[in-house]
Symmetry: D2
Subunit: 334 residues, 4 copies
């Protein structure tokens, strides 16, 4: 079997990462790579060249990856589905379940409400829902790190009802995209570190909350504090989880080792170790560590590469499921 | 008036920073700079050379700064006091009030228990206690950032009784000292970011808790999570403070603008701004911002330069008080 | 005496650095700071606000600093001179002596040829020419580092006639300006290092050659190879200088120690030491070291802060001369 | 066929990189990994654990890689050869052809002179000499970058006789090894850049000169200037090559495109492009660009990853040749 894929938004950081992964994928091949601004230039792989959007031959591919910005992605998803291709959308357009929620967090009417709700593609949490679908919303980078870090507690009802869940997250600069902006100038970031959009204003707050409350309806609000880290890639989230009555560190740890025991793309560190950024950077896996802060308070450190498990490699993982391939095909190189 | 000072541990990062500040101080001069390993080398200022510890002429100075490691400092403090010099100890030896507390957090008997309790020198919180003393315990870098960030709430009884206070702190590498260690090798730190000693195991936890509980006896435990940031200097603490009944964001903000209104070395940012590392790096001041996370949860971001307000410049601030000088003498260059 | 100054292009990296220096200058004050894009915002010093260009009150100032781009600067210089102000132009507009030379290196007709030739303001080389002038061309950052590194040999006729002079230069990113560009994005620069505009294509080649050949008409061509260094500031130039017959390392060294013996803003390191970037970063001085590569080949390492001695502090040094002040007024803080 | 290998010095940066490459090698497997200081710890691959040197079962392996320091390596090479294993020595012990040369550059008597001369393993230059040997001296990182950059000119006699060849080289910090040293502390390197051991004092000078003069006996001396770059990995060498009479840029370029036309691990960039560090970092190939500086002066920029083509991957390339495997087996992943 060979699966022909097309990529929109192929010249950004995520698109480039995706191309690298697909290049060595045993079953998938890249049929076209869309980038209006780079059209005509060589991609650097197999003689492939970037093409303009209107040149994308949607009817010739089995699958489309959308690495395009929000608002631009949903219309492309609709078009690709019409042409008979499956879709993994890496933008935020299809992640929130309702047009209302989208409008709340993105301050804009949803471009194609008919596509909602779409299945949220976090395989370790809901892979059975992904099987057989036509279109998948690929999770955001911060949400991937946050939800994998909290899901074992949430599913088991081990989170203290109503108590705020503090996620103090730090991301490398590639998470902010490739477009040059004053705040991303090397001189501005070098030697600096800063919080931004804290206090429940960052758009990923809604996404994290939606997914966690689906697992644990009585969980408290998410307090999400992103920070810009002066490195190129990687996300480290330090999560403070108050435990429900009857739970302690040992029982909580068991939830993690159980849930992720057979997961090839999530690693739970042994007791006494703490996850660090380099554990996950340039890998396709999440790495999680657990530390007791108080008898009823757990610190979870959850690390991913924002461009891999937080974007491109998770998209391929979802695509593998959509086509009935081994879920980690092309993803276990290291 | 001219005040002669001597420095022990003068060749480390803090010692070097202190030398730079004293070099331009209007009243203080450096009489000797001790560094056993650098003895004989020129300091680079006024022809001064590093001397060995036994060459330090304690009886010729008015004031001694101790930038020596813990356990080594207290005996030096005792000796300097005997010789008639005042002492600002930048080590941890005199910060905890009792030998028991020291033994708990430093896993070692206190070297000179007779010196305890010593006044803790955080001028913005307790400058009246510093006046007229012979010896001062200069606060740790993380505690300075943390306590300045929480003091207004603590003093006013605005912290929710018993609720954990989460301090997610990030420090540049100079905070770990100048001695080469595998973990501080450039290659290890470059591109990385990691928590360390989280879960109430870091020694500064006890110091922060002691000082905050002195201000607010019913405050909850400190959950202190330090992280190593791949920059040379600066500490940014993201603090999550649950408010007591009757307090909200606006009233809490007023506590900060009131307490720090006349402080030249603490700046509270206007609403809507968030503190970043560069606001404080290479300055002598703390910069604090406030963000509402929920009606009863405040996020305080507190930033300092770990080598200045977190060590050397605060030591000079304390010394200024000890000698009745203007508190900010030599500290307002920028 | 008080000298009122105005700054055009005040919100860029150089402008900002200049503001910092003038803020503590004993004699000069800032009367206006022009930045069209930041107009209305506070500068952060003495309540000063950025103004638009047409709001600049040229007739109220004694001196104008131009931190504006080339082509924009010369017309402003003409206007300021008309209004009776002296001018230090930090752009490239007035550095080359003839309109032809400007056209060759900048691929554009000179905007105000009547201003040429202007005195080139490198005080250690030609301070007597600066005295009493109305307008000065402030040297480029790379040229400052290069010319200070070669001037002692050039003046003495110690350079091998006709032999190429290789200048392998490395600059921090602030040298490329504050405007966000794809190549200056943090993610692009982080972990990278690259040559650019090598092979006599960089515009500073002409400027360096003009000044060196003025000192040593028989010197060979400049081979100038700039590289982008992943740090925020500083230039380190490694210069390979073939010596003329009769010269050797010892005699060459004497030329440097002689020429710079009384210079407060140039430091020649003792034998056996090699200059490094940090020797000059955040200082106003150049630091130079000499190493013998072969009996007739000298390696000169010349280091400056590109924003200080390579731009803003040198501009103040020139301004001090223009107004008969001590040349280092406001520049000896460290 | 399966080739059993053993690694000495397996816990350093080069050893670790080698383990990563061998882990995915189609034919080679790791039988033991020696590290006295890490003995007993898991390597992280296939359950392998580090062992102490005396536990290394030399008689069970076909091939030994020595990532040990100079002076320690040659005796191990002798022992491994005695036990019947082939040897690729990544240290400097076997690179220089004579004990005298070794003594000159390493200020120490050669530990096992009987092993000299050993074949120098730079396959693109002399792969026919490597075939069938028992022991290979793997080139140093700087020499690999330098010699690949100059070999086409040297072999063709296109270098100007007797003219100095200036190699201005910049290396990431991993080139200095994993042992913590004051100069490699993160705080020291961050924001800095510095030359070290310039002026024909760096040990690699002798190695580069030996190999280049073997190709071009009338070539001039090597002027080798290494600099420490504040990144973790990669070497970029800017090489200034004066051309012999009758040679120009176009003819010189042809030498490069000819010599490297079929090389899978050396890429010559098209005209107008300049090599940058990221072209080679985390790849197994060298990337070379050519720029005309003057009609008779060529600038060659030669880039490698110091831990890959500058050490571990070149060692595997040599090993592939020793065992008659495809030369790039296990090395073409990207």
């Amino acid at each position: 079997m060979s699966i022909k894929t097309g990529i929109f938004g192929a010249a950004g950081y995520t698109g480039w990462e995706l191309i690298g992964i697909l290049h060595t994928h045993p079953t998938m091949s890249i049929h076209f790579a869309v980038s209006d601004s780079n059209a005509g230039e060589t991609v650097g792989i197999n003689g492939l060249k970037y093409v303009k959007q209107h040149e994308a031959t949607l009817d010739e591919v089995d699958l489309v990856f959308l690495c395009t910005p929000h608002l631009a992605s949903a219309p492309l998803a609709a078009k690709a589905l019409d042409a008979g291709a499956k879709v993994v959308d890496l933008s935020a357009d299809l992640r929130l379940k309702t047009p209302e929620s989208f409008a709340k967090w993105y301050q804009h009417e949803h471009p194609v409400p008919a596509l909602l709700p779409t299945v949220y593609g976090l395989p370790e949490v809901n892979r059975h829902e992904i099987v057989g679908k036509e279109v998948i919303a690929n999770p955001g980078c911060y949400p991937t790190s946050s939800i994998l870090g909290l899901a074992p507690l949430a599913k088991a009802g081990a989170l203290k009802p109503g108590a705020p869940l503090i996620i103090d997250a730090k991301s490398g600069v590639s998470g902010a995209g490739k477009n040059p902006k004053p705040d991303l100038h090397f001189v501005e970031v070098f030697g600096d570190f800063k919080p931004y959009n804290i206090g429940r204003t960052h758009r990923h707050t809604g996404e994290i909350e939606q997914e966690l409350h689906a697992l644990a309806p009585n969980a408290g609000p998410i307090i999400f504090s992103p920070h810009l880290l002066p490195v190129d890639r990687g996300i480290l989230s330090t999560i403070y989880a108050p435990l429900a009555d009857g739970w302690d560190y040992a029982k909580a740890r068991e939830l993690y080792t159980d849930m992720y025991a057979d997961e090839l793309l999530v690693k739970v560190l042994p007791e006494g170790q703490t996850a660090r950024l380099k554990d996950a950077v340039r890998t396709n896996r999440a790495v999680i560590s657990l530390t007791q802060a108080a008898p009823d308070l757990l610190i979870i450190v959850s690390v991913i590469d924002n461009l891999r498990k937080g974007a491109a490699s998770q998209a391929v993982q979802n695509a593998n499921i959509l086509f009935g391939l081994p879920e980690t095909a092309g993803l276990l190189e290291n």
